[in-house]
């Protein structure tokens, strides 16, 4: 039945006599189309030579011609040097020794350059300092940061350096007699120290204050009061038998970091012995995850624990914890001088107690302290309030961003805006620089000269590896100019080093990058801390946040730095943003970590949604007047009840690309530059979408990571703790590796090279340096938060982290073995998906296992992936058609599919989308296109180069020459790469020792990556 409804097009139609409606009913178009005018005029029509058919012909021909013209191949230009530098041979990499020192990370490195472009950071083997972490590896990308300042700015206007010098001179004259503060990062540079002294001598109204964005002030104060000089005690954990850490993440960034290599050495069982590591901590950290025994303890409890450990008596500890403490104490006593206590508590008395406890320890070295942090919180605090109060009239900031990172932000910013003089030395227009009157554009460390004394007696040189990309001038050269010194900084360093060099030549020192020398040079000094000095832990009254008890409803907050972003200086680095946090496996975010118990009390939730993402609740974090709103929550197994954690370094808004403006800024909570605070959480509505790459957190009692205790390892046969999986053939159990159990014809690999990679789960601390090294070496694209959330991460190498569901993984096995029947399996398997409140943690780097019987190869319809006789599983990208069968058939899930074109695509506006960022690409590895599968190649470009070099020299290859990006990045010796056909090699030994196992051995894939069973030193005294 037809509808009787009438639809009105306008109100006008209601009016029956409307002339408009009348007209419109007649006419199709509102305005008349002048067809008659055109077609009616015969002359015009005939005069036009183009008929409709002609027109169509023209269109057709031009389209065809255009498409034909487009078929022509591109003309590629090659432009050689006019005068070629001697040292550059196109296609051959050069290496330069230099050092990174951004005030947070200090490390001696080698820089690989190609055609004059730095493309990768490597470790400098001559250095004993360590500390080449993921951030240092990623720093090469920060060189090519598109947000860098190209020129100096005067009042926001671009200026030349001459104009800038004039402006500064004028300003400095105006400021004569007024209080000006030079607020710098820690340089640890003998030459810079000298230079700043000369500068402050010329301008006596300027005083130098060192500000470490993430402070180690209490440890420094303690050291200074005990030993007289300012510095941080150095530790060599390879010598330790018992390590007790109270809230110190010494495998992370504790006191500058870089202790993990020594630690890992002591963790590999040798002659039946390995170190024992007990960790008391609130947040789950890398150190806690690697510990043999981890006891969650709030900072309030930690200070009691420390008291008990260092000889005092503890008050108010739960019985289990008290027992653990006395246990630890007994172990320490047993270890004698090979035992060590360390603490991360922001408390001078605590740090002093530890220093005096360790005085007799072989592990600690107080004679040659580290000089990589020098800041004094109290002094910085005074500067902060003086600027806010308007007492300080001028502020020069170098390498620090106080507007972003000062806790008392609002009043400081007001004060900063009203300063008579504000000058910022910055690489980017960060929060401070954007408010400063004068902004000096500084170069990246790879474009600068410099020298370092990271540790007393350990000197390093920084040399440029590329000509400055922008019109920048380093701070030191500016000072030389402004003190009317005609030298440049290079000559100035040479002059300083005359005393340092001793018998070594300058060229040798520059070549090595590092130099051990007993020469004493000037170091930064700070007035000795006045208060807190005489305090001991027992008579503790001024412990800052640690002193008073918690208010009802309050939680202990421990502020920490993430492995990926550190203090946030490199927040605009997409490699680091996309690097999964080793513990939470979450990318592109910071968050409050809350224990499961507290979370359920507050109604905070984490849940997995249908598209495979992780969602979490929001909270407001309140500390007195300071409120940080909408902080996402992650429920962290192992988080001490009554404590929460939050990472610094996120939430930057200035001088940073929009995609990288992630997380919340936690610095407002960093009151008194103390990492421990008391806060309250309050749930707010909303759901946060995390980009978490590991949603299944437990192993469900399987032996993906094999683990045993030192006791069993020492006393039982390998079959007990490292059994070979058996399969049944003709009703007989045979090992899965036996040829009878094999579907395939074996290939004779005894001739030539056969590469294996060994990963020692005991030495791996999960630091992630290998992940970034792999990124840099293999041109792995960055995909962004949205794609990460969809598990479309492109990392060729991931570090899986597993929690135990019971107290230990051992118990998981038992539980799984005891499951019988449907009811039990339904309920108990479900339970096993949830991690324990204080789980054991294990890390496992997983990359392509390069199976000799690779499941991926047999299913590829186009033979794009195939096996080489050197053991590598090859992937020919140009052959791949993107069926993804291989990824589906891979039991290790290591194949990565290019869902999009990640290079030169505005949708993925990261380094591969701009000319500057593309300079970091490795020219020996192809950039993959959309629709192809990619994966770890076992760095075939590196192994092939090693072979080629040996062929060219006509020699055999020595053990250790073969490396992959990950194995050479690992300073812990956890990854060893080599040729197993060389029976004298280290890898041969590792591939045949009794700790060796293959991942998912039962599948029969015969991988070329081998793992070493994790051994935990769990034995109690």
């Amino acid at each position: 039945m037809a509808s009787n409804k009438k639809y009105w097009k306008s109100v006008e139609e209601l009016n029956e006599n409307s002339s408009i409606v009348e007209t419109l009913q007649q006419n199709e178009f509102v305005e008349e189309i002048p067809t008659d005018k055109f077609l009616g005029d015969k002359n015009v029509l005939e005069a036009t030579s183009t008929t409709r058919r002609d027109f169509l012909k023209y269109v057709g021909f031009t389209t065809a011609a255009a498409s034909l013209a487009a078929c022509e191949g591109p003309v590629i230009k090659s432009i050689p040097y006019v005068v070629a530098p001697d040292e550059i041979v196109p296609g051959v990499a050069n290496y330069y020794a230099t050092a990174m020192a951004d005030g947070f990370d200090f490390a001696n490195v080698l820089v690989k350059t190609r055609e004059g472009r730095p493309i990768k950071i490597e470790r400098n083997d001559l250095s004993k300092m360590g500390g080449v972490n993921a951030r240092v590896h990623a720093s090469v990308l920060s060189l090519y940061d598109a947000q860098r300042l190209p020129t100096p700015l005067i009042n926001g206007e671009e200026a030349s350096w001459e104009e800038f010098d004039v402006a500064v001179a004028q300003k400095m004259n105006e400021m004569a007699g007024k209080d000006v503060v030079l607020l710098t990062q820690t340089f640890a540079s003998p030459s810079t120290t000298k230079l700043i002294k000369e500068f402050t001598a010329k301008y006596p109204n300027v005083r130098h204050v060192i500000y470490d964005t993430v402070s180690s002030s209490e440890a420094l104060d303690a050291f200074q009061s005990v030993h007289g000089t300012r510095g941080l005690a150095d530790y060599d954990f390879s010598k330790a038998e018992v390590i007790v850490s109270v809230g110190a993440d010494f495998l992370g960034d504790w006191q500058g970091g870089g202790y993990d290599a020594g630690y890992a050495q002591g963790r590999i069982p040798k002659n039946g012995k390995m170190s024992k590591h007990i960790q008391f901590e609130a947040n789950m950290t890398l150190s806690g995850a690697n510990a043999d025994k981890r006891i969650p303890a709030t900072p309030g409890q930690q200070i009691e624990i420390l008291k008990a450990l260092t000889g005092g008596s503890a008050v108010g500890l739960p019985p289990a914890m008290a027992e653990a403490v006395s246990n630890a104490k007994a172990q320490l006593q047993k270890a004698g001088s090979k035992g060590v206590i360390i603490t991360g508590l922001p408390n001078v008395a605590a740090q002093k107690a530890v220093l005096s406890y360790n005085a007799n320890s072989e592990v600690m070295d107080a004679t040659k302290p580290r000089l990589t942090a020098m800041g004094n919180s109290a002094e910085v605090q005074r500067v902060m309030s003086a600027v806010a109060a308007g007492v300080v009239k001028g502020l020069i900031t170098v390498g620090v961003d106080p507007v972003y990172s000062f806790p008392d932000n609002d009043s400081f910013v007001e004060g900063y805006k009203n300063l008579e003089m504000s000058m910022a030395f910055a690489m980017k227009l960060d929060a401070t620089a954007s408010l400063a009157q004068l902004v000096a554009a500084t170069p990246h460390y790879l474009e600068s000269w410099g020298d370092l004394q990271m540790k007393k007696g350990s000197f390093s040189l920084i040399q440029p590896t590329i000509r400055p990309l922008f019109n920048t001038r380093q701070f030191q050269d500016c000072l030389l100019k402004w003190t009317a010194n005609p030298k440049n900084y290079y000559d100035y360093i040479k002059e300083t080093w005359a005393s340092v060099l001793g018998g070594t030549s300058w060229n040798q020192a520059l070549h090595d990058g590092v130099l051990l020398s007993d020469a004493s040079v000037e170091t930064d000094t700070t007035a000795s801390p006045t208060d807190q000095i005489s305090e001991t832990l027992e008579s503790n009254s001024a412990n800052g946040a640690l002193s008073s008890a918690l208010q009802e409803g309050d939680l202990w907050l421990t502020l920490y730095t993430k492995t990926s972003l550190g203090d946030g200086a490199q927040a605009n680095n997409p490699w680091l943003q996309e690097m999964p946090d080793p513990i939470t496996r979450t990318t592109w975010d910071n968050y409050v970590t809350v224990s499961a118990e507290d979370a359920s009390e507050m109604g905070l939730e984490n849940n997995h949604v249908a598209n495979g993402g992780l969602n979490g609740s929001y909270v407001n974090v309140r500390m007195g007047d300071v409120v940080i709103e909408n902080v996402p929550v992650i429920i962290q197994p192992g988080q001490a009840k009554g404590s929460v954690g939050l990472a610094l370094g996120y939430g930057k808004k200035e001088g940073i690309q929009e995609e990288m403006q992630t997380g919340v800024n936690a610095y407002p909570l960093y009151k008194d530059f103390s990492s421990v605070q008391k806060v309250s959480l309050e749930k707010v509505p909303g759901v946060h979408e995390f980009a978490c790459v590991q949603l299944h957190n437990t192993m469900m009692g399987r032996d993906i990571i094999r683990e045993t205790s030192l006791e069993i390892f020492n006393t039982k046969d390998a079959e007990v703790w490292n059994p070979m999986p058996m399969v049944s053939k003709d009703h007989q159990e045979i090992p899965v590796t036996s040829p009878d159990a094999d579907l395939w014809e074996g290939f004779d690999r005894s001739v030539g090279h056969h590469f294996n990679l060994s990963i020692d789960l005991n030495a791996c601390t999960g630091c992630g340096a290998c992940v970034i090294a792999c990124h840099a070496e293999n041109n792995v694209p960055v995909v962004g938060k949205e794609e990460m959330r969809k598990s479309r991460d492109m990392h060729w190498l991931r570090i899986d982290r597993y929690y135990s569901s019971e107290e230990t993984f051992e118990n998981d096995f038992e539980k799984k073995d005891n499951i019988s029947g449907l009811g039990s399996s339904l309920s108990e398997y479900g339970e096993m998906e949830n991690p324990s409140a204080n789980p054991q943690v294990a890390f496992q780097p997983v990359m392509c296992q390069h199976c000799n019987h690779a499941p991926c190869e047999t299913v590829c319809p186009v033979a794009a992936t195939s096996h080489g006789r050197q053991g590598q599983n090859h992937m020919a990208y140009n052959r791949c058609v993107g069926t993804r069968y291989c990824a589906n058939n891979c039991p290790y899930k290591v194949r990565r599919f290019n869902w999009f074109l990640y290079a030169e695509n505005d949708e993925f506006d990261y380094h591969m989308n701009n000319d500057l960022g593309r300079m970091v690409l490795n020219p020996d590895v192809v950039v993959r296109s959309r629709g192809v599968m990619e994966k770890c190649s076992m760095c075939i470009q590196m192994t092939q180069l090693t072979i080629l070099e040996a062929k060219r020299d006509g020699r055999e290859i020595k053990d250790g020459e073969f490396q992959t990006a990950c194995s050479s990045a690992c300073d812990k010796g956890a990854m060893v790469f080599g040729d197993v056909n060389d029976h004298d090699s280290k890898i041969y030994e590792l591939a045949n020792n009794n700790r060796m196992y293959h991942l998912l051995e039962a599948v029969g894939t015969k991988p070329n990556v081998v793992y070493q069973t994790k051994v935990r030193n769990t034995s109690e005294v």
Binding site: S866, I940, L948
Partner: protein, 443 residues
């Protein structure tokens, strides 16, 4: 009448012939006359006037002086033509034998000369006798030969002219042919008319089924033909598509006409002298301009063979050398660099795709392969072109056929011994060493 069946034959034949002729009528060029080469190249030196022997002088000059002096142009040292007239002969003997001695003795003229020439010390030649010096001076005193202009035949053989004349001949031929065809038509029609007029009737040929219809009705034949056509089309389409992206023979115009024929051919310069990185890098490298200047500092003009028919005259080559000077910023008159550099944007000829890794040093240094094996007779190329197809099949064929070069290479010793035992051969091919594996070139 039987004959009438073929009455159209002549016209058909003529059409066929025309097609045939046109098909094979690729441009045939007249051979260029090479009459003027004898007198053009060799400049006749006029008989000597001075005391010395000009021929002996020339030999001595080239052996001892030419590194720094030219006759008519300032090089490291001043131009030497007519130098015997400028200075006293005895003084010249002294100067040439040991100029520094003369300078240090305070000889005013010597000091002046030394200062004028940027204080560059002239090598002493104590071994030269006065006669030798006389000979050299005789050579330098010889008058400048008239520049020999290559006689270009007037109105004669440029390449394009030859092409045009050929076309005209062909056109004329075609016209004649056409005329013949028309005439034949006319003749047949006339004959027909005459026949009709004479009342000669000939039976209409009985209507046979046209052959195309017969063909169309034979389904088997249609099927076979269409399969054949499809296959043939597929074959040609495949062949055509396979050459997409294969730039064999690609010879682009370069910003500077650099002749490999002159450098590698006539002057026998080793490839590795300029492409030095081929020995140690994946790239053979385009030589930087300072490498060119190693020689061209002294070679400002071209005196070798010319090919005026193609426009490669001495002037042409000299102009190209000037382009180099402009790019590198060399002031010829002052004999120094101005610092104004303009990098040369060469057009790259050999382009491997990104996903293929090729390393020159592997092939040049390790394998010891001649450059010509892949790059062809470079020493004969006036214009560089891509000699090989650079396809994967081409790479692989070579890897299959070529034996590994072991000579004195310790790296191969053990591997080769074991592998050759395994394969039961004396010499291994690259393929047997694993040179066909995907990942060896694609990563």
């Amino acid at each position: 009448m039987k004959k009438v069946n073929y009455r159209n034959l002549p016209s058909r034949l003529s059409l066929l012939l025309l097609v045939f002729l046109l098909t094979f009528s690729t441009t045939i060029f007249a051979q260029e006359d090479s009459a003027n080469e004898a007198e053009a190249t060799e400049a006749q030196t006029p008989p000597a006037e001075g005391v010395g022997d000009v021929a002996a002088g020339e030999t001595l000059f080239k052996a001892n002086c030419a590194a720094c002096h030219k006759l008519d142009k300032k090089a490291t040292g001043p131009a030497l033509r007519g130098v015997a007239d400028k200075y006293d002969r005895e003084w010249l003997y002294k100067w040439i034998k040991n100029s520094q001695e003369l300078v240090q003795s305070g000889d005013a003229l010597a000091v002046k000369l030394f200062e004028e020439n940027n204080r560059s010390v002239m090598t002493a030649f104590p071994a030269l006798t006065n006669t030798d010096i006389d000979n050299i001076l005789a050579y330098t005193s010889a008058p400048k030969p008239e520049p020999t202009v290559a006689e270009i035949p007037v109105g004669g053989g440029g390449e394009s002219d030859g092409g045009v004349s050929n076309n005209i001949i062909l056109g004329a031929l075609a016209l004649v042919f056409l005329l013949l065809v028309v005439m034949l038509f006319l003749v047949t029609s006339t004959l027909k008319r005459i026949a009709e007029a004479n009342g000669v009737t000939y039976e209409e040929k009985e209507k046979k089924m046209p052959i195309w219809k017969a063909f169309a009705q034979n389904q088997f034949l249609v099927l076979v033909t269409s399969i054949f056509l499809l296959l043939a089309a597929g074959y040609f389409a495949y062949g055509w598509m396979m050459q997409v992206g294969v730039d064999q023979g690609y010879a682009p115009v370069q910003p500077i006409h650099y002749s490999h024929k002159i450098h590698a051919g006539a002057n026998q310069i080793d490839c590795n002298y300029c492409h030095s990185s081929a020995r140690k890098s994946k790239h053979s490298g385009i030589p930087s301009l300072n490498v060119c200047m190693n020689c061209h500092k002294n070679i400002a003009e071209y005196n070798g063979e010319v090919d005026p028919e193609n426009g490669y005259t001495k002037e042409f080559y000299d102009a190209e050398i000037q382009k180099l000077y402009a790019a590198v910023g060399w002031d010829e008159a002052e004999q120094k660099y101005t610092g104004e550099e303009k990098p040369v944007k060469w057009v790259r000829i050999h382009n491997l795709p990104d996903f293929a890794y090729f390393n020159h040093s592997q092939h040049v240094t390790v394998a010891g392969i001649e450059c010509q094996k892949c790059h062809g007779p470079v020493e004969e190329m006036e214009i560089m072109y891509q000699f090989s197809p650079l396809t994967m099949g081409w790479c692989i064929n070579c890897h299959r056929e070529t034996n590994v070069n072991l000579a004195g290479n310790e790296y191969y010793a053990k591997i080769h011994e074991e592998l050759s035992k395994k394969y039961g051969v004396d010499k291994l091919t690259i393929a047997q060493m694993g040179g066909l594996e995907c990942g060896k070139c694609h990563y």
